[in-house]
Symmetry: C2
Subunit: 113 residues, 2 copies
DNA sequence: ACGATATATCGTACATTTACGATGTACGAG
DNA sequence: CTCGTACATCGTAAATGTACGATATATCGT
């Protein structure tokens, strides 16, 4: 079972300008360490920040900074669990990226051969 | 009709690491001016660099830099047409972003209510 | 060949990002 | 209350990004 499921959902923070919204989300995804963090959270059952630090070749403070970037973009959420913090990837927010992308460049009709 | 359709396709430049590939593409999308350039190219029939410059509140040299970032990420291609250069958004490459995103976080089964 | 036009590149200034170690904060154990 | 653990934040240095004006390059028209 998952270590702790994160709270239902924080404010979705609607952005007036879709270009700006996409740019902000894409920028948060624009560093390999952050993509790796997301993949780690999505693939593993673990979620504690320490596990992420152990998984990356980066200092704890650096990982914490990357977590902050992801948090501020709404791509992850953290829930305090005693001494630990359990981070979860926010699948909805990630799907929002795909949605914005699809709005930008709709896939051409009948491209499912 | 479109001003000039761009050449078929340059080398797809496969990236060994999908996390790295996604990060590079996302970083290229991580600035509102670049998203606006892509939208402009996708929505309008125009494609000349000058039209993009007119469309953005940025200096010509700055727009040229953004075009370079998009070009290096493979998100646009430019074809010289006399004095002008016609830029096209590369739909395939944009769809590749969605693909990488989908590989990262598959949409949960039966989420199409 | 010359001048005008379209775009790229250079040089530069300033802001932001990335990385680290050090330090702060909050919690639980004892 | 004190100590250790887990994480965040601070301070800072180096790298990268963003923006501009100036300049280079290439093409077209004459």
């Amino acid at each position: 079972m998952s270590p702790r499921s994160c709270p239902p959902a924080p404010p979705p923070a609607p952005d007036a300008d879709p270009d700006e919204e996409l740019a902000v989300l894409a920028a948060a995804l624009g560093h390999p360490a952050r993509v790796r963090i997301l993949r780690f959270l999505l693939e593993r059952r673990e979620c504690f920040a320490g596990a992420i630090v152990d998984h990356l070749p980066l200092a704890q403070s650096t990982v914490s900074q990357h977590l902050k970037v992801l948090r501020e973009a709404g791509l992850i959420r953290g829930e305090v669990d005693g001494l630990h913090i359990c981070y979860c990837a926010d699948g909805e927010r990630l799907r929002r990226v795909g949605e914005l992308l699809e709005m930008l460049a709709p896939v051409p009709a009948g491209s499912d051969r």
